[in-house]
């Protein structure tokens, strides 16, 4: 893992596009294995993030005994973290639920 002290560039470590939940989980395993009480995750150069990646990252961070802080978080990535924290409800597709099943 490429770290400077306890600062990790997540884009360099993984990809500018953070997509898969298990990749987030493996990344957090590596973060946890560092012998640093305080860790800085640098989001510089991150371009996109999925909800699944963001959710896994946030969940693991909340469960961690380490102090993990983010820096250089682009606005679009920050918005996805806010979506995770402020999700309103599960999606509903009433038309689909109520539609008659067609046998083919």
């Amino acid at each position: 893992m490429s770290t400077q002290g306890c600062r990790i560039s997540i884009a360099h470590e993984l990809s500018p596009d953070l997509a898969l939940r298990d990749i987030a989980s493996s990344f957090m395993d590596k973060v946890e294995s560092l012998r640093c009480p305080e860790i800085v995750i640098d989001f510089c150069e991150v371009e996109t993030i999925t909800r699944s990646f963001a959710h896994e990252y946030v969940t693991r961070k909340e469960r961690s005994s380490l102090r993990i802080n983010e820096v250089n978080v682009p606005d679009n990535i920050d918005r996805m973290f806010k979506v995770i924290h402020n999700s309103e409800k599960k999606p509903r597709f009433e038309g689909l639920r109520q539609s008659r099943t067609i046998i083919l």
Partner: protein
């Protein structure tokens, strides 16, 4: 035998199941489509997961997902690069990422493939992803939910997940919301003996006969080749 004698046109939604079938049932022979152009297109798209050799701007040929997720990053990068991010990076890469993640999280696939084709004349793109895994109903069954295949698809879209944790199970529903309401596109999901099709005006569910069922899950989307940024957050705040 797979007989394509009467086939005049092929889309990702038909090429991917065909590609899986030919990979898993190697004894099958293929009668190709009559048109040399359609034949060439078929061979070109299906050749050996050939993303290394093909680098055109209008399509992404059939690409296999590796079993090792760590190896999927360069493939995802290639998908993003070739597809051209209609609707902007945020929304397009979200959809691809969530669909690929669902396959790794739930399907237990032997084969998983992705393909995209731009139709510039129609102004749209077809994006299709397929696996030959345990189906959506099969995945939910593992956590104690026994559902018919069509009902399992509907429940998964509305947030049911085999991972019984809060905030799980949002990938398919948010992707569908984004496709329909964000892009104004349409989406087909086929899994086992169930299928759903949704576009702006129409939401339909189907129960497929034994002859028509698919042993795995196929998700196909048609989205406009819009240059306008689709608001990801508006449609994934679910």
């Amino acid at each position: 035998m797979v007989d394509l004698k009467k086939v005049k046109f092929l889309t990702p939604t038909t090429i991917l199941p065909l590609s899986i079938m030919l990979r898993t049932e190697r004894h099958l022979t293929l009668v190709p489509p009559p048109s040399p152009d359609v034949q060439n297109y078929l061979w070109c798209m299906m050749r050996d997961h050939g993303y290394d050799t093909l680098n055109r701007s209008t399509y992404l040929p059939v690409v296999g997902l590796p079993h090792d997720e760590d190896l999927s990053q360069p493939i995802l990068k290639k998908v993003y690069g070739l597809a051209g991010d209609p609707g902007g990076k945020n929304a397009f890469r979200y959809m691809v990422g969530e669909l690929v993640d669902n396959i790794y999280q739930h399907s237990r696939f032997a084969n998983a493939l992705i393909m995209a084709q731009q139709y510039k004349r129609n102004g749209d793109m077809h994006l299709c992803i397929i696996d030959d895994g345990i189906t959506i109903a099969g995945s939910l069954r593992e956590s104690g939910m026994s559902l018919d295949d069509d009902q399992a698809i509907v429940d998964a879209i509305e947030g049911a997940s085999s991972k019984m944790e809060k905030e799980r199970g949002r990938g398919l529903g948010t992707t569908m919301n984004l496709t329909l309401k964000g892009y104004g596109g349409c989406m087909l999901v086929v899994s086992g003996q169930g299928a759903i099709y949704c576009d702006g005006d129409n939401q339909s569910r189907y129960r497929l006969s034994d002859m028509n069922k698919y042993k795995g899950t196929l998700i196909s989307m048609k989205i406009p080749l819009t240059l306008e940024e689709v608001d990801l957050y508006e449609h994934t705040r679910l």
